[in-house]
């Protein structure tokens, strides 16, 4: 069945408006990640789609049919809860079989489906245990098996990998992706973690303060985010305030910067550049001079905090040039890698613009 359309969704708690006119569509078999910082309304959005919250206005369509007023138990969705919500008074087997029991299937059939799904997640030998006897990773799998047993093709995942350590999270991430393609799921996955979003998503819906900021494919979300908030939240960016000279050049602090893409704006603009795109090179244009203030060795890469006229520019590179604190360096911003946004659209209060 599943393609999902969310149209003009609004939801308030008391005087606090959590979702403000949220609309988007999810295609059949698409893996969509809803990304946003905590408190941006993403869990509320998911619960509105599931029918666990009544919406103030707007509608939810599954395959073109309006489901807005349907009861949650009639929507036939698989919902994965943030802290799993495993029933503590039931064994793993009873948990996984709950949706089948609730539908009144007979015992033998339930057992068969439960066994299948427990073996998919590799918990067959734990079926008689209670959730509290399982490790975090196993609880997560048990919860996944419980969702799988619903046979629903449409999955809503609320921060499913959050409470896990990074190693297990990364293993489960790739399993999740494999399973979703194998079973042909349509997925809406909510997370505050941009790496998780980039790894899993076919498309990323970025939410800020209850408003859809941008909807783009995973690659575009990173390489050419539509908004400065996207450039800020997905990956990292240095932001510079500059003045437009013509369609392909701007002036920053008296220095000329070339920009490959069409600027299409006038007056003051906001430039954004990823730390890993900036090079330690000197060119005629697009170059700043600064002094290294701190060096952070991160393993795969090294990160440099560079003082440019009292403000910090971040550069990240995997080449490990032998630079140390106090060295003077030249920073080259390649024209292909400069993103331009209207100055009115500031990414956030906590962002410094250099």
């Amino acid at each position: 069945m599943p393609n999902i359309e969310v149209r003009g969704l609004c939801k308030s708690f008391g005087s606090h408006r959590v979702l403000k006119d949220v609309s988007f569509t999810v295609k059949n078999r698409e893996y969509v990640v809803v990304l946003g910082s905590s408190g941006c309304g993403k869990t509320t959005l998911l619960k509105c789609i599931a029918g666990l919250y009544d919406v103030d206005s707007g509608s939810v369509f599954f395959d073109g049919v309006d489901y807005t007023d349907k009861r949650p138990e009639e929507r036939n969705l698989g919902f994965f809860f943030q802290h799993y919500a495993l029933f503590s008074h039931m064994t793993v087997r009873e948990n996984v079989g709950y949706s089948l029991t609730a539908r009144g299937l007979d015992k033998r059939e339930i057992d068969k489906i439960v066994d299948e799904n427990l073996s998919i997640v590799g918990l067959s030998s734990w079926s008689g245990n209670y959730p509290r006897e399982l490790s975090g990773g196993m609880q997560q799998r048990a919860a996944l098996a419980r969702v799988l047993a619903t046979k629903s093709k449409l999955l809503l995942l609320d921060e499913p990998l959050n409470a896990l350590d990074s190693k297990i999270a990364s293993i489960l991430r790739s399993e999740l992706k494999t399973l979703s393609k194998k079973f042909g799921w349509t997925v809406i996955h909510v997370t505050p973690n941009q790496e998780e979003a980039l790894e899993l998503a076919d498309r990323i819906i970025l939410i800020k303060d209850g408003v859809v900021e941008q909807v783009q494919s995973d690659v575009d979300s990173y390489l050419k985010p539509k908004t400065s908030y996207g450039a800020y939240f997905i990956g990292e960016s240095n932001f510079l305030k500059a003045a437009v000279v013509d369609a392909h050049s701007v002036k920053y602090n008296g220095l000329m910067f070339s920009v490959s893409r069409d600027i299409g704006l006038e007056g003051d603009v906001l430039l954004a550049a990823r730390p890993e795109k900036i090079l330690f090179e000197r060119h005629e244009r697009n170059t700043l001079e600064g002094v290294i203030e701190a060096v952070h060795f991160l393993g795969k890469t090294t990160r440099y905090d560079i003082n440019y006229k009292g403000k910090l520019v971040y550069v990240e590179t995997s080449k490990h040039p032998k630079l140390k604190v106090g060295d003077s360096v030249e920073l080259y911003f390649p024209p292909d890698d400069i993103m331009v946004y209207p100055l009115s659209q500031m990414p956030g209060d906590e962002v410094t613009v250099i």
Binding site: N76, F81, Q82, A85, H89, A102, R146
Partner: protein
Amino acid sequence: MVSGLGLKRWGKTQIICLIALLFFIFVIFLPPVYVLSYAFKSSFVLNESSKIALFNSLLIGGVVTIFDLLLGLPVAWVLAKRKHMHFRFLIDTLIDMPLVVPTSILGLSVFYFWNDGMGSLLGLEGGLISKGPLLITLLHFVFTFPYVVRSIEAAILQIDATHEQAATMLGASPLTVFRTISLPLFKAGLISGAILAYTRSLSETGATMMVSGFYSTAPTIVVDYKTAGDIHSAAAISVVLIGIAVILLVLTKLLSASFRVPMSTVWPSEERMLSRKYVKARDILVSLLVFLVILLPTFYIVLSRLDVVKPETILALAGDSMILESIFVSFVVGLIVTAVNLMLAIPLGILISKNMFKLGNLVDTMGDVILLVPTSALGLSLSLFWKNFSLNEFLVLVLAHLSFTFPLMVKPIAASLTGVDPHLEDAARTLGANSRKVFRTIVYPLIKPGILAGLIMTFMRSLSETGATMSVSGKIKTIPVLLVELFNKGGMDDNAVLACITLFAVSFAFILALKKQEVNNAQH
């Protein structure tokens, strides 16, 4: 290992706690259970009328508890789940009223409602329901109901709502979710509420005496025996009552651990239908019953006899030295008892919450036992105990009240002390505060709601207790005792009714204060 108040060393805290503990054991705990020593006397027999009275009590308790659960469950559910309901604060407060209104006044109100009130409404000469088992049941239903609602509501509030949401997303209808997820998770609250209601019904004395007529329950027969001077029969049935109470306490702990609600089978279509079709009918029925059987009888005395609140009767009451004196005695005893218990409950609350000397659990359970001892048995025990020391009557009254109110004070204080994160205390210590300063600046502000709850409950219980007070009082009478006596002698004049209404108003003011405090806490 978090040390909290720095219990590695013996300090002032420890010594104060130890003194409080000794006082607790010898003055608070021992007197109520003193009667148990009669179990070992050769004269220990349960005669025929005691057995009948005991059976009556057990039966009434059972019937009352079943109806409490049937009606209390939906009420608790609605209170727990609909936090933004209209008039929620009012409903919440009204349901708690029978907890704080002195039971003797409740007895009077319930009697007037079902006898005179409904009688004259239906044109019946002798009243609708006369004194006897049915009226006792209706009365017990009124004052046990809040216990059941509160226990269940508290347990429901503990449930993580995402569990219920998860079950919903897995396709379960509301009834199925309730039966297979919610109920198993709050069954402990259900069981403890039921036991509380049952033991309370088993032990209530004063009000029951007003509506029992010639019918005897175990507590009323204790009073009868004692009045007739038959201490041995009174002691025997008291021992049995205490025994039952303790067995029930143990059963609660065992039951709530092992009791499993059947849930392996679900009837999806039937349950789905039930979840929708009859919900409205159920809500209307429950509201009607609560209104008719709980609220209206509780408030009837105020609603029907407001005519006595006028200048003449107030002046008459002011001249009625007997009633005034009783009211005065009640308030003085209440205040003394509250003050002494507070001083005692803070060190003992600390002892319980920190499990000091490894005695925390024991002291806590001892408190539970006092709560469970039926009040007339408790009164008998207290009077037998304090008779051994020829003390002044007023002092005995105060000591008796200290005993049965103490658990009400220490429970909320210990609970809020347990809720204080020990890291906060440690943090304050590392910031240079000594233990007194830690208590004053960190602990005290955090446990203030618990202290307030304890203060109000202690004072109200002291003000309203009838059964045990009767057993220890001779010439000095508290107001509930006087009211029961006046009522049974047929001497309820306007002055007495006005006194009832006054006490009712005081109770209402206290419960409002308590509720406001709760609401404020919830907001912080």
